[in-house]
């Protein structure tokens, strides 16, 4: 997949860097914390596992269903982050992948397949669509790219109504029955939480691995300066196509999970509104790390289903929030958190050097 090589690699968090070693206190527990802090994966994985275990014992009924939806949306938003945050392509048609996954799962409802198999099929179909979109949109970037993805998403939305006998137009396709997974009954809300949170966590980990790999560095190079990256021998187009296919794959997974939760798919999942919602999630959460999409998805789910209960005012508030984030708080919620952590660290180090 990755033909390009970026010659100048920067290891921002190399654990054996002598400078970092010198700063770290060497005694017992604090040394463990320092090491864990430098190796970014461990504390995040611990936090994720704690959350996955704690949530079903803290929340019940509709709250747990809301949390499940938030995690599924979070995975969807993560797929958008791959394009927005990693390669710097602003897609306004991300719902196409989500909807493709959802409709694939809905159309397979009579085959009684293992849910995980459905996930893989849905993800592959969405990835194929992503490849087509990448071929069509590969020439453009910036605003043209945003508009082209918007148009392609809209065309897909219209196809649902043109081929009414296949996709059933406005009615959508419903009636997915929960198939058992390793003897687990997925009708049960707690079991569905384990299932969807588990899938989300696994693919978040996979994405983390990709981002840390050579391919991830190539993405960053292409995002920061496509011209320079091309001059260094990276094929910008191949990198963007790869990002697109990864994004489509993950978006498709989220779509399958969503349709399994809602027992079907409706045209709203492919709409511009959905594409806009995922943009909201990504930017409210922040694009600087992989928690952002999940935080943004939680905010979005809470705002639309609880605080405003689907009333018309929710559109106004969501617009206002997005506006505030775009104009005033660039980094989103995770950006604010990171800034806070950095300030705290500074405070601690100055206090330590003073004493």
């Amino acid at each position: 997949m990755n033909e390009g090589n970026v010659k100048t690699r920067v290891d921002e968090d190399n654990p054996s860097s002598p400078a970092a070693e010198g700063l770290a206190p060497s005694s017992g527990a604090s040394a463990w914390w320092a090491r864990a802090g430098r190796n970014r994966l461990v504390p995040h994985a611990v936090l994720a596992i704690v959350l996955i275990v704690l949530v079903p014992s803290l929340l019940t009924g509709s709250n747990l269903a809301l949390a499940t939806t938030a995690v599924i949306y979070g995975l969807f938003a993560l797929s958008a982050l791959v394009l927005f945050g990693w390669v710097g392509l602003g897609s306004f048609g991300q719902a196409a992948f989500f909807g493709t996954g959802a409709y694939t799962a809905a159309m397979l409802k009579d085959h009684q397949l293992n849910p995980l198999i459905v996930i893989l099929i849905g993800a592959f179909v969405a990835m194929l669509l992503a490849l087509v979109v990448a071929i069509l949109a590969g020439n453009s970037s910036g605003i043209q790219f945003a508009m082209l993805t918007l148009v392609l998403g809209e065309v897909l939305h219209q196809l649902l109504f043109t081929f009414r006998d296949v996709f059933h137009g406005d009615d959508g396709i419903f009636g997915i029955t929960a198939q058992p997974l390793f003897g687990m009954n997925l009708f049960d809300q707690k079991n569905f939480w384990w299932y969807s949170a588990g899938v989300a966590a696994v693919f978040a980990l996979v994405l983390y691995g990709i981002h840390r790999s050579q391919l991830g560095k190539t993405f960053t190079a292409v995002r920061d300066d496509p011209v320079k990256a091309a001059a260094l021998g990276t094929s910008v187009r191949v990198a963007r196509t790869a990002a697109f296919m990864i994004s489509g794959f993950v978006g498709g997974i989220a779509g399958v999970l969503y349709s399994q939760q809602q027992t079907g798919a409706a045209p709203g999942l492919v709409s511009t509104v959905m594409s806009g919602s995922v943009i909201f999630m990504v930017f409210i959460g922040g694009t600087s790390n992989m928690w952002g999409p999940f935080v943004g998805a939680l905010v979005y789910t809470y705002l639309t289903t609880r605080l405003f209960q689907g009333s018309n005012t929710s559109t106004i508030w969501i617009g206002l929030l997005l506006l505030v984030v775009v104009v005033l708080v660039r980094g989103g919620i995770m950006g604010l958190v990171e800034r806070g952590v950095r300030l705290l660290k500074q405070r601690v180090t100055t206090a330590r050097s003073a004493s």
Binding site: G90, L136, A137, N139, S140, S141, G142, I143, Q144, F145, A146, M147, L148, L150, V151, L152, E154, V155, Q158, T162, P226, V227, A230, V236, T272, G276, I279, F283, N312, T313, S314, T315, I316, W317, I318, G319, L320, L321, L322, L323, V326, V327
Partner: protein, 301 residues
């Protein structure tokens, strides 16, 4: 033949509100480098204001014209206020930020419109003077279509005169070329920015008012028009008014000819034309239509 002529006339009438909406969009982009996602919202607000002013009743021709002008002025003020409150704070070189901000603005407008005018569809009958039609051997000329074509041409001429014959137009051209140099030469860039947004809003609002008898005015009209205006400025080339005019004609005709001869494809004409142009020629078709010293199209990396 008669069928084709009818399709051409109604295509021209479809093209005019499209051109007015898209010309505002492309004017704002050309000078301020802001792609205004909320432009469809401006159009919709214009339609709502005109309908509210006439209370959805049949009124005389001049009352209708008055409502259209009122719609234009209300939206112009609103648009200028948006520039003052939102867009002046954004770095013009970061296109995605202004696109996102205007997307957020479009959500606010869509939600606000439902709050103010309700979710039910409104209709605005055309004034009696425009309700009839002339017939020439089977070719039906709806008076409203003729009126739309005349108004479209008048406003296009007015816009051309504003940009090429007035000092404001010269200043706007200078700001489009190099805002820093324009500022250094004593042009008040802030006032030009507000003026350009107001002019864009005026065009969108008047387009909404003029088109109000043709469309069912309901939530969703904004999205329809923003997609169509995007199609126009992509086809016509970013920032080119003449290109927008040509592209509106092309798309209006394409849409009405498809609706006549291939009704099942009629929803796709816009999208397919737009996608093909973006893939093959991202800078737009109509380089020859560009006004002198127009901003250069973006080159994708």
């Amino acid at each position: 033949m008669v069928e084709l002529l009818n399709a051409i006339v109604s295509g021209l009438a479809l093209a005019m509100p499209l051109f007015l909406a898209a010309s505002g969009l492309t004017l704002i982009y050309g000078v301020m480098r802001v792609i205004n996602f909320a432009h469809g919202g401006f159009f919709m607000v214009g339609a709502y204001v005109a309908t509210s002013a006439l209370r959805g009743q049949v009124h005389g021709f001049w009352a209708f014209i008055g409502a259209v002008i009122l719609a234009g002025i209300v939206v112009a003020i609103f648009s200028a206020a948006c520039e003052e409150i939102i867009f002046r704070w954004l770095d013009p070189s970061e296109h995605m930020l202004s696109l996102l901000a205007s997307y957020a603005l479009s959500l606010i407008i869509a939600g606000g419109a439902v709050q103010i005018w309700g979710a039910a569809a409104k209709t605005q009958p055309a004034p009696p003077l425009l309700a009839g039609s002339w017939s020439f051997g089977g070719v039906v000329l709806a008076q409203n279509d003729v009126f739309m074509i005349i108004m479209g041409l008048l406003l296009a001429a007015g816009l051309w005169a504003l940009l090429n014959q007035t000092s404001f137009g010269k200043q706007a051209t200078a700001v489009a070329g190099d805002p820093v140099m324009a500022e250094a030469l004593g042009i008040r860039v802030r006032w030009v920015a507000i003026g350009v947004f107001a002019a864009g809003g005026l065009l969108a609002g008047m387009a909404g008012g003029l088109a109000s008898p043709q469309y069912s005015i309901a939530p969703g009209l904004d999205q329809l028009f923003v997609l169509q205006s995007f199609a126009v400025i992509i086809l016509g080339g970013f920032g080119s008014i003449g290109g927008a005019f040509g592209a509106s004609l092309l798309l209006g005709l394409l849409e009405s000819i498809l609706a006549t001869y291939a009704p099942s494809l009629s929803g796709y004409g816009f999208y397919v034309a737009m996608a093909i142009v973006l893939m093959l020629r991202p800078q737009g078709l109509a380089i020859a239509f560009r006004p002198r010293r127009a901003p250069q199209p973006e080159v994708s990396a």
